[in-house]
């Protein structure tokens, strides 16, 4: 794709065609103005496109071809008209928005506050292996704090604690501040903040997607779509047919009322805090504060090694933003390496800070980073590693650990390259894939990325087997504790029962993410090639496949 999309006028193109395109262009600009006049960023964008438009007009004028139509449409471009017209609707919207927002948040908080009184439920949840993984168990955090402060030894002397020193210190500070009994309120607060972040991020994602589509439309990238016979005006996204307020509210509700997330909050797993850091990364990234976003990603990468690779989709987003701002990108490789270097430096700094907190004792490296990579604790979870490594023959273990870990890190670059024009979908799919293929997944992580699915709601009609994996995920979630009980509680089943359920759950997640990816690619194809299905030589419609 050319780094700077612009309208090209070749001599072969007929004048009518030029005329048509310019008219289309202008109308698009008007659309764009209506929808994005509020945000300063899009204002700039608008100005840029407008300048471009004027240039084009001049170009045409210089060729001596005077088109009245253009002047007429051009005169419609009155800046003051659109904001004024959009005022009443925006206040109505903001009312709707604030009522829905506050209502959902309050209800979510209320449910959580009601549930904390149920001690037996909380204890049951705290013991669930799917939630309290070795990396996120609150008991293990308490053990680390106890070892460090009451016994004056290192948190990492044993093989129980796998949080980084920074986080252990943070939790210790919080416990001192709030007492161990009231720390649950802090978790509820973080969970609510997470939901607010999910809301703002979803809003940004949707807005960004709409702007992007409008931008590409303006630049005539989707010309063939408009040429096709079956024109669907609402196929391309705009803030009219894909309202960010509604869908981001839905995303927030998906986060707040997802039973997986509720369970995580009640069991006080530290995964909520990991989510918080990850969401801060996304938030800053989408707001264009690159340094801050990299800082939080660096912390998250230190907690769970896997998120290192999320730097690649981040660069994808930044590149897209630059294109939208019409900044010229000299070399994509240069851009990528510059951002990568910044991130690596930040991650190293965070690591050094942890190293310093541990008084330069190297033991914690083995307990945190290498623990995740070597998968030493074979405690069951909803992932793929534990039972595989339990049953693996001794002399193949190292090989398969390498293969499985590589698999988790593998997809970031190819996916970013393939989805370079859809960085938002790329982000979502990559976060999801990391959570599926990591060594100690937590069901809360599924809860996090599925909350962002409303942001890609426009892909739902193109997805193939929604029912299959929805059922798989629900069956997995419901049957996991039952099968676990059958295996270890009643003794009625064996480990294979639980293993089967974790497989179903993992396959469900993979199907979901691959389907999002597939739908996105299909949509891109339609946008670029139009929605007409060509007829073959025998008059039958051609089939749509992968080459």
């Amino acid at each position: 794709m050319s780094t700077e999309p612009q309208i090209k006028f070749s001599n072969e193109e007929s004048k009518a065609n030029i005329r048509y395109k310019i008219a289309q262009n202008t109308l698009n600009i008007i659309d764009l103005t209506k929808s994005t006049i509020k945000s300063s960023e899009s204002n700039e964008l608008f100005k840029n496109s407008f300048k471009k438009f004027i240039q084009n007009e001049q170009l045409i004028e210089s060729t001596g071809d005077k088109l009245q139509k253009i002047h007429i449409i051009g005169s419609q471009l009155n800046f003051q008209k659109f904001p004024r017209r959009s005022i009443p609707s925006s206040t109505k919207m903001s009312k709707y928005r604030s009522a829905g927002f506050i209502g959902a948040l309050a209800l979510g908080a209320l449910i959580r506050l009601c549930l904390i009184n149920n001690q037996s439920l909380r204890q049951w949840l705290q013991n669930r292996v799917e939630i309290s993984t070795p990396l996120t168990s609150w008991h293990r955090v308490l053990e680390g704090i106890y070892l460090k402060n009451s016994l004056n030894s290192s948190s990492y002397e044993g093989d129980l604690v796998h949080e980084i020193p920074m986080m252990i210190n943070l939790y210790h500070f919080l416990i001192q501040l709030l007492s161990a009994k009231h720390i649950i309120y802090f978790f509820i607060l973080i969970d609510c903040l997470n939901s607010v972040l999910v809301y703002t991020i979803s809003y940004k994602i949707i807005q960004h997607t709409c702007i992007m589509e409008n931008f590409n439309k303006t630049n005539g990238k989707y010309a063939r779509l408009f040429e096709s016979k079956e024109k669907r005006e609402d196929f391309l996204l705009s803030e009219k047919n894909f309202r960010p307020l509604f869908w981001s509210l839905l995303a927030m509700a998906c986060y707040l009322f997802n039973p997986l997330n509720l369970a995580c909050c009640m069991s006080q797993t530290t995964v909520l805090i990991h989510h918080f850091i990850l969401l801060l990364w996304l938030n800053f990234l989408l707001n264009g504060k690159v340094f801050m976003s990299y800082f939080f990603l660096a912390i998250h990468a230190n907690i769970t090694v896997y998120s290192l690779v999320l730097i690649v989709p981040s660069i994808g987003v930044i590149r897209q933003k630059k294109i939208l701002k019409r900044k010229h990108i000299k070399s994509e490789l240069n851009l990528a390496s510059k951002h990568l270097a910044t991130f690596v430096l930040l991650a190293a700094l965070v690591f050094m800070f942890n190293f310093y907190l541990e008084n330069f004792n190297t033991r914690f490296i083995d307990c945190t980073y290498f623990f995740i990579l070597k998968v030493r604790d074979l405690v069951p979870n909803m992932g793929l590693f534990w039972y595989f490594l339990t049953e693996m023959f001794d002399h193949f273990i190292t090989f398969f650990i390498y293969v499985f870990q590589l698999n988790a890190f593998l997809y970031s670059v190819p996916l970013t390259l393939r989805l370079r024009d859809e960085p938002m979908v790329n982000l979502l799919v990559q976060i999801g894939l990391l959570y599926v293929f990591k060594s100690y997944p937590n069901i809360g992580e599924t809860g996090l990325y599925t909350a962002f699915l409303p942001c890609v709601a426009y892909l739902f009609p193109l997805m193939r087997n929604v029912l299959v994996y929805t059922c798989m995920l629900i069956a997995g979630g419901v049957l996991a504790p039952i099968m676990f009980y059958l295996w270890l509680g009643s003794g009625g089943g064996n480990a294979n029962f639980y293993f089967a359920i974790t497989l179903v759950y993992s396959v469900g997640q993979i199907f979901l993410l691959v389907d999002v990816f597939y739908a996105c690619l299909k949509r891109e194809f339609i946008k670029l090639n139009g929605s007409d299905v060509p007829l073959g030589t025998d008059g039958k419609p051609a089939s749509f496949t992968l080459e």
Binding site: N127, V129, H139, L142, E143, I145, Y146, L147, S150, L151, E157, G158, D159, L160, R376, D377, L378, V379, P380, L384, W386, F388, L389, T390, E391, M392, F393, N407, L410, Y411, L415, R418, L433, F437, F484, W487, L488, G489, N494, A495, N496, F499, L503, S506, V507, I510, V514, F517, Y518, F525, V533, P534, T537, D538, A542, S543, F544, T545, L546, E547
Partner: protein, 523 residues
């Protein structure tokens, strides 16, 4: 020539006398009467070897060479191995002369070395050697269970950082372990007190059976240039006289040594400098045998003198059924599993001070690594007052996966008649399928707790019962299926992502079946 002969004779004589002084052996049997017609036999065999500075070659004389070589090679100062079957009932039987946990226990104290790693490797090698010597299945490499006590007292004199301790509760003692143990005695089981062990299966019919081997290197000076080896072998057993004689009398039971061992002492071990039998009857029983010496109610027989006049030693004893304990246990200790669920469980140890005075005890606990103990869950409680109790000292060394067990030591001051509970919470660990022992559903042992009581400067050891716990087991029958299925899932993910990232969408002409076949064969 004569001179040469004379010198040779002199040399022989010196060597012989050397040998006489260099080795000594004593044997002793003491018998105690326990309530409910139970009898407690305690055999003690002590071999000593004095290292003579002059002799260059290691000549152990009658001292068991295998032990001598072992302790010399690995620089062992002190070594203790005990194997037992059954449980000593402290509340019924009082205190034993020598305590031992159920199953096996091995500990050794090593000479100071340049680094602890040398001691560790010496420990592993010596444990293997001992395992081979006594036909045991101690495997401290695959089942790492070694603890280094910080302030627990195992040995009175040695530096604790040089001590290695392993509790092996799953070790079952049998005749095959007894045979090599008996072979260490200079007369084996042909002469002396050991004649009673001739019918070995009879020994294992007892309620409690214990063999112990205790080696010490005793130095004469601080530099330890002059030292002697002291090997003490102990065999204890408790059996019920009524069961053995198959008679039931409400008041008393009559039995002889022959009933218990189906054997009598007929000869003396010629090497033994002393062969003693002491019957501690203490108004609980009477014997028909005329004692060689009598002090209070304990009859002691010097077999050397006794067998001069008599052909055999087989006393008949008339024992009262209901008798009082002579040595009550100063504390009682019990251990059990509480609130178990699928994920974790609690281990509770209750210690009761049976004394009317304050007692200082040290609790020493090693828990295998595959029970993931949370030390933050440690609660020491005064049960009667229902209060948290602050122990004097706590030391916790967390375990490492496949490397070392969790080790907890607590120093407690128990108030008179106080009851205390020590509670710990642990998660189940998950082992790989090839790490499980052959009999998986037998369960995994949690080592017995060792409590050392310090009373009037004397250390007494008491062990709790070991616990048995099932670990979550994978399915052992289908590793291939698991490998295939998991790889399939990974392949589904990889395959579809690879497909979509490397290929583009395209419209193609639908092919008829014939066309498809044609293209297939063209390839």
């Amino acid at each position: 020539m004569r001179l040469k002969n004379f010198i040779f004779l002199l040399y022989l004589l010196i060597n012989l006398t050397n040998g006489l002084f260099a080795y000594s052996f004593e044997e002793k049997l003491s018998l105690n009467i326990l309530p409910n017609s139970n009898v407690y036999f305690h055999f003690e065999f002590e071999s000593k070897w004095f290292k003579s500075v002059k002799s260059r070659t290691e000549n152990f004389h009658n001292f068991p060479k295998i032990i001598g070589d072992l302790v010399s090679k690995f620089d062992i100062d002190e070594l203790s191995l005990s194997l037992s079957q059954g449980k000593w009932k402290h509340n019924q039987w009082g205190m034993p002369v020598v305590s031992a946990p159920s199953g096996g226990e091995l500990w050794a104290s090593f000479k100071d070395q340049a680094s602890q790693n040398i001691i560790d490797s010496n420990w592993l090698q010596s444990s293997r050697a001992i395992s081979g010597l006594f036909g045991l299945s101690i495997n401290l490499e695959e089942n790492p269970n070694t603890a280094i006590p910080t302030f627990s007292i195992l040995s009175d004199t040695r530096n604790s950082s040089n001590i290695r301790y392993a509790s092996i509760p799953n070790e079952i003692v049998c005749t095959e372990n007894l045979t090599p143990w008996i072979k260490l005695l200079p007369c084996a089981k042909s002469k002396g007190l050991a004649q009673l062990f001739k019918n070995a299966p009879k020994l294992f019919e007892s309620h409690y059976f214990m063999i112990n081997l205790n080696f010490k290197r005793i130095c004469a000076d601080s530099a330890c240039s002059n030292f002697h080896f002291d090997l003490r072998q102990i065999l204890s057993l408790v059996n019920n006289a009524d069961l053995v004689t198959r008679q039931l009398n409400d008041q008393e039971s009559t039995w002889s040594f022959n009933n218990f061992f189906q054997n009598k002492i007929t000869g003396l071990c010629p090497v033994a400098q002393q062969s003693m039998v002491i019957l501690n009857l203490e108004r609980k029983a009477k014997t028909t045998l005329i004692p060689t010496s009598k002090s209070g109610e304990s009859y002691s027989y010097n077999l050397k003198e006794f067998l001069k006049t008599s052909k055999e030693f087989n006393p008949t004893i008339v024992q009262q059924r209901q008798v009082e304990l002579s040595r009550a246990s100063p504390i009682s200790i019990h251990r059990f599993i509480t609130d178990k669920n699928e994920i974790n469980f609690g281990i509770k140890t209750v210690i009761k001070n049976e004394n009317n005075e304050e007692t200082s005890v040290i609790y020493f606990d090693t828990i295998p690594w595959y029970f993931r103990v949370y030390v933050s869950s440690l609660r020491v409680k005064d049960v009667e007052r229902n209060l948290d109790f602050k122990p004097e000292l706590i030391s916790f060394k967390p375990g490492l996966d496949r490397q070392k067990p969790h080790q907890i030591e607590i120093k407690l001051n128990l108030r008179p008649r106080g009851v205390y509970s020590i509670y710990l919470r642990a998660d189940f660990g998950y082992l790989k399928w090839d790490e499980f022992p052959p009999d998986v559903n037998h369960g995994f042992y949690i080592n017995p707790v060792l409590v050392t009581i310090n009373q009037n400067g004397q250390n007494t050891k008491i062990y709790s019962e070991p616990l048995l716990m099932n670990l979550p087991t994978p399915d052992f029958s289908m590793p291939y299926n698991v490998i295939c299925l998991t790889c399939t899932v990974i392949a589904i993910g990889f395959g579809s992502l690879h497909n979509f990232t490397t290929r583009k969408f395209k419209f193609i002409q639908p092919k008829t079946l014939i066309e498809k076949i044609k293209t297939f064969f063209k390839k």
